[in-house]
Assembly symmetry: C2
Homo-oligomer: 371 residues x 2
């Protein structure tokens, strides 16, 4: 086994485990296939996938599996999933630089991060659960990883591949004082309000968004604002706020009477009854030359997180959004009159996997790969 990584001694090997090869994990593996030779040649990064696990089965490899065959291997050579065995496989001293990538959205898998990091395994994930869960648990993970110099990166939890968390960190680390982080953190809600311009009713746009596959199967999962609230918690904690998810003031877009309905079809049937209310809000903004946007806000001065429908003058970058773009605006001591803005598609398997991939390479660079 010790010979597995022999060859160029200056290589930076990465022994990778992937938990949850669903849409994002599969796309990430495809991106690996296309880039692994370049990484080896240009950056001396020796990227090897040593294990893949889904909820039912897992395939473990000792030298790095043939990437293009991972589905076949998982289909024909797998054993029953066993998290302890999976972890033990990466804990082995024979693997330099083990990294587990959690591509699930599972709170249960995120419970493993502490143990992984404690065992010297780096963690990369687009899963929001650990960082938007209990503050104590988040703090415990961060303190351990910092103390033990094990890396834990999660850029793709906010805005997928957009450089949001890394930008925020770099501001904080160089001593800038964050005043406010504000933005549209949901492609679905971006699309809905970018199209809510008086031509169609609110419910009509929501139905069309669902029909086009832009929303969750139940659009209430988007309209509740809880996904945005999780992102607000993640960003707030990067700013140094000790915020719990429950502390975030969330203005849900699901009318109270429709929250209890069992099916999403029922919900969409009833939603038109609330169009008038929403149209009044839109017109109220319009008479002031403004438009509505559903934003997440981290307000460092008041020490709070909010998710709310706000109106913005047309000169504001948030008002100029189009499509289903995300946009994050950082107001800081150094970017006070004009904020620093990052904008672009913030969802979808390609860009989310790219955000994860970028974190993985950050681990490699932090472990000594040439820049």
């Amino acid at each position: 086994m010790a010979g597995s990584f022999e060859g160029n001694v200056s290589n930076t090997p990465l022994a990778i485990g992937i938990v949850g090869p669903g849409l994002i994990g599969k796309t990430l593996l495809d991106q690996f296939v296309n880039q692994v030779a370049t990484l080896k040649k240009e950056f001396e990064i020796d990227l090897r996938v040593m294990g893949i696990m889904n909820s039912k089965k897992m395939y473990l490899d000792h030298t790095g599996l043939e990437l293009s065959k991972w589905e076949e291997l998982l289909h024909t050579h797998a054993v029953a999933s066993d998290m302890s065995k999976f972890t033990a496989h990466f804990e082995s001293q024979d693997f330099p630089n083990p990294v587990i990538i959690d591509c699930t959205a599972s709170a249960q898998v995120s419970q493993m991060y502490y143990e992984w990091i404690n065992k010297g395994i780096h963690v990369v994930t687009p899963n929001k659960k650990a960082n938007s869960g209990a503050f104590d648990q988040y703090k415990r993970i961060r303190e351990l990883q910092r103390k033990s110099r094990i890396h834990y990166f999660y850029e793709a939890t906010v805005g997928a591949g957009l450089p949001i968390i890394s930008t925020l960190r770099s501001l904080v680390e160089t001593g800038d004082k964050i005043v406010k982080v504000e933005g549209v953190f949901s492609g679905t809600l971006s699309y809905i309000f970018n199209n809510f311009n008086g031509e169609k009713s609110f419910s009509q746009i929501v139905s069309e968004a669902k029909a086009s596959g832009y929303t969750e199967p139940d659009p209430r999962d988007d309209l509740s604002g809880m996904d945005v609230a999780r992102k607000v918690v993640i960003l707030a904690r990067e700013c140094g706020l000790q915020l719990e998810l429950d502390d975030v003031k969330v203005q849900s877009l699901v009318p109270e009477p429709l929250q209890g309905l069992t099916s999403s079809d029922e919900f969409l049937n009833e939603l038109p009854n609330f169009d008038e209310e929403m149209e009044l809000r839109r017109k109220g903004a319009e008479v002031s030359g403004e438009v509505l946007r559903y934003v997440g806000v981290v307000d460092v001065k008041t020490n709070e997180g909010r998710v709310e429908l706000q109106s913005f003058p047309k000169s504001n970058a948030l008002a100029q959004l189009s499509g289903s773009d995300n946009l994050v605006s950082f107001t800081t001591s150094r970017y006070l009159r004009q904020p620093l803005i990052v904008r672009g598609p913030g969802a979808g398997p390609e860009v989310t996997a790219a955000g994860v991939f970028s974190d993985l390479l950050r681990v490699a660079f932090y472990l000594g790969a040439p820049s």
Copy 2:
């Protein structure tokens, strides 16, 4: 000397040299003063300035100078500038992780990078000269630093503190294919065209920009487009293009007959004669519902760099710019229909120094500081 860095063995020490403590260098030193304790406590980064040099004198220190006293030390304890001695000071085996920060705009200082890197000294700079100079020289530096695992970072050469080069790198490294990088790379030219809306003549806006201190002492240095062209070259090379500055097609905004005038006052007196021409272009754009923007473009498909006055529909993010913001738009395989956009103030000592500081911390993280 070996005892200088004793104490916590897991510290990441940085032995820093600063060449050119002008406006940016001075601001950077101020930022160090405010952040050095936090870096030590939270990131185990032991940041010590071991030398400061300007064109006349230098002050060398063996344990790290008292940051708040650097001006006094350079005033009273300095010796005559000597680049060889300055370099030799950092080459010493006693200093772990030497980093020289070139805060000048000097081509002569940039000639030192190869030697510094060759001697194991990391280089961080906002100076555009090395990367927009002869391609062969740039390539030699990049190949050496990669081969020898010495870091060379220059985020602040484009857009000051905005995450532009790091974002582009991360796209390229994860295997995205860059189609086009396009943007407004000059705060001055952003300001001028954001205000050129029919209310005032072009020459009037240029004069006002100069009076407000937004332009170079001679506004032709901005209007020639050469500074933008240098940034285009830097970005083009990050995209893998082998471009020389001479290859960039630059549409100068200085009318041909005014290029030879000796003084900038003469230039500003003559410029109104060309207002009609510029106003025609503006109106031409306006009838199509568009606005003029002076953009730099890296077109990877056609393998070329351009700096030109273009018109953009009002829905385009470039048309929505305000103030003196920079904006960079990355169109790639993964960000094809909607680009990834970074926007914000791209000039000024505070944000430029912050861009340099962020690169310096990147060196520390790449050398093992905890994340």
